[in-house]
């Protein structure tokens, strides 16, 4: 009888989960440690994300009560003639950034990984532009892009017998100029990422290739690049995601001009919400940002599918 009586209390205690047992079990201290995260993410990440989705279906200007309007905001954005200009410009920026900025860091990193002496100086020099605050970089380059014959870049071009260029003053050359600066500012980070990946390539693979009599070019083509393909895909997707949200360069260099040739999607969102003389059109701004987010989510999904397919092969 006594042996049986001993067993029930312990099970009874486990069943009765009072606040005190929760505290003694560490539940309270767990919560205390999670509190900063829950509060900050709740108020400044999760809640705004929910709000963004809700607001994209509302007509709201903070003065009159919000009104649900269905897909009106999306329709409004789609009928804005600037919408397609912005998509075209952002796509153009992303494409140029790929052409300028994608191969250069790879070539530089592969060359740098072969450096025997003063490797640190190479990487420090490559990374230096990344450290310059982006606003300072843009304002500095804006001065460099001075279209007069005494502009910094035009003086340099004159040494090679090339006449002064209009740079950001003309609709044709404005976007490439923006991309040139953006590439300068971002390449260092990508170079360092590639360098880190290059140190991860097992030397055995090169040894094995040498046994087969591979030249340097063949080693790069058949060993280095295949080993880097994961990182190459990551930087590709990251670059597209980054360039789809380009704002600083067009905003500070040209303000979207000349002739709307550098208006990007993010700038359009900014204009809807904060540069509207009729009061912020928050519905249209969030609708457009949701559309951009969906596009980027699809991109990330494709990226995950692709990496999965690559890794199983």
């Amino acid at each position: 009888m006594t042996t049986i009586a001993k067993a029930p209390p312990s099970t009874r205690v486990r069943q009765r989960r009072t606040p005190m047992t929760w505290v003694r079990g560490g539940g309270l201290s767990n919560l205390v440690f999670l509190l900063p995260l829950l509060f900050i993410f709740g108020a400044f990440s999760w809640w705004p994300i929910v709000q963004a989705v809700v607001m994209s279906f509302q007509k709201t200007n903070l003065v009159t009560p919000a009104l649900f309007v269905g897909w009106d905001n999306f329709a409004r954005v789609l009928h804005d003639p600037l919408f397609f200009t912005a998509i075209k410009n952002t796509g153009y920026f992303a494409l140029l950034a790929l052409i300028f900025g994608y191969p250069v860091p790879l070539v530089v990193a592969v060359l740098m990984s072969e450096v025997r002496k003063w490797k640190g100086i190479f990487s420090a020099l490559a990374y230096l532009p990344v450290v310059v605050p982006p606003v300072v970089a843009v304002l500095l380059w804006k001065f460099f892009y001075d279209a007069s014959p005494t502009g910094v870049f035009n003086v340099v071009l004159s040494w090679f017998g090339i006449g002064p260029q209009p740079w950001i003053q003309s609709a044709a050359s404005a976007m490439p100029s923006l991309v040139l600066e953006a590439t300068w500012a971002a390449a260092g980070g990508t170079i360092i990422i590639y360098l880190a990946a290059l140190t991860g390539v097992a030397p055995e693979l090169y040894d094995a290739a040498e046994v087969d009599g591979a030249s340097i070019w063949r080693k790069i083509w058949h060993v280095t690049l295949p080993q880097l393909r994961g990182v190459l895909l990551v930087t590709l997707i990251l670059q597209i995601i980054g360039t789809s949200q380009v704002f600083l360069e067009p905003f500070l260099f040209t303000g979207g001009g000349p002739a709307n040739s550098t208006v990007t999607i993010l700038q359009l969102i900014y204009r809807y919400a904060f540069q509207n003389s009729l009061g912020g059109n928050y519905g249209a701004a969030t609708a457009l940002s949701i559309m951009l987010a969906v596009f980027l989510a699809v991109l990330s999904w494709v990226y995950f599918k692709a990496t999965k397919a690559w890794s199983t092969n």
Binding site: V108, S123, A197
Partner: protein, 336 residues
Amino acid sequence: MTSIETRPTDDAEETPLPVVDPRGSSPLTVVSPRPTRKRRAAKESEDRGVASPADWRRKSVRVPLGTSQIVLLALLVVAGLGPILWLAKSAITPTQDTLRTPIALFPHGVDWANLATAWSTVHIDVQFVNTLWVALGSWLLQVLVAATGGYALSVLKPRYASIVNGLVLGTLFVPAVVLLVPLYLTILHPPLIGTSLINTFWAVWLPAGANAFNILLVKRFFDNLPREIFEAARTDGAGAFRLFWSIVLPMSRPILGVVSVFAIINAWKDYLWPLLVLRDPAVQPLSVRLPTLQRAIELDVYLAALAISTIIPIILFLVFQRLFLRSAGLGGAVKG
């Protein structure tokens, strides 16, 4: 092949288990154990890349490869250092010289007064101090949220930890632009507080704390710490707070160093968000103020202001170079 002898050390360096100096004496140690500088230098001379030591002895390889590296170094100096040196030069050059002969080196002498004018007459000092405040507060909040959150999610692991973790990681897939308008409205009419946070530093600090990337970094680091240490401490009677303060926090110095670099640099770089929420020049950081100065002040003073804004990040980079570069490499590794 001499390189074969070094294999064991190579393998040791690539083991994913991060063994951390418990005293955290070297803030430069990030994630994986590193050989000391001397051993590194010795190892690197035997280390190899695409070109083997045998390749390097061959003239047909050495000459073009060496030449291309020298060309690369020259290009890196021009592209990486050039604009910064030009800015440093122009900051102390009279306006007319910079306009007429932008490349010439001090044709009419040096004008040190530019720096003083930018600092005290244009009052860049106000925005400079504001930038420090923005960076300091964002840094404190990010380290607090990342350290406590990472600890709770990785070590304490309450039953709902996986849900919270999923919600945090989910925000990585939401581009920042989606938050722009609703976050602005939240700052304009914050819940519970009642007064607008516009034109206060809290408007920048609080959203900066919600950085999922930090949580991911710190949680992964904690996940890789040996569990035996925690078990031993618990057996010795250490509670959750004691464990955090005396064991986990000292051990997590390396990863908190990485978080700190990201936090301070991002605070220094940020433009769009402070532009929206800090409208009053008295609280604006440098990045927001500089574009508006452009038309208001003379060119030489303006360039001096740009130079002053660049000094701190460059000094930080030069001092903590290895930490910066490792953080940058880590960024790619984690994002992958």
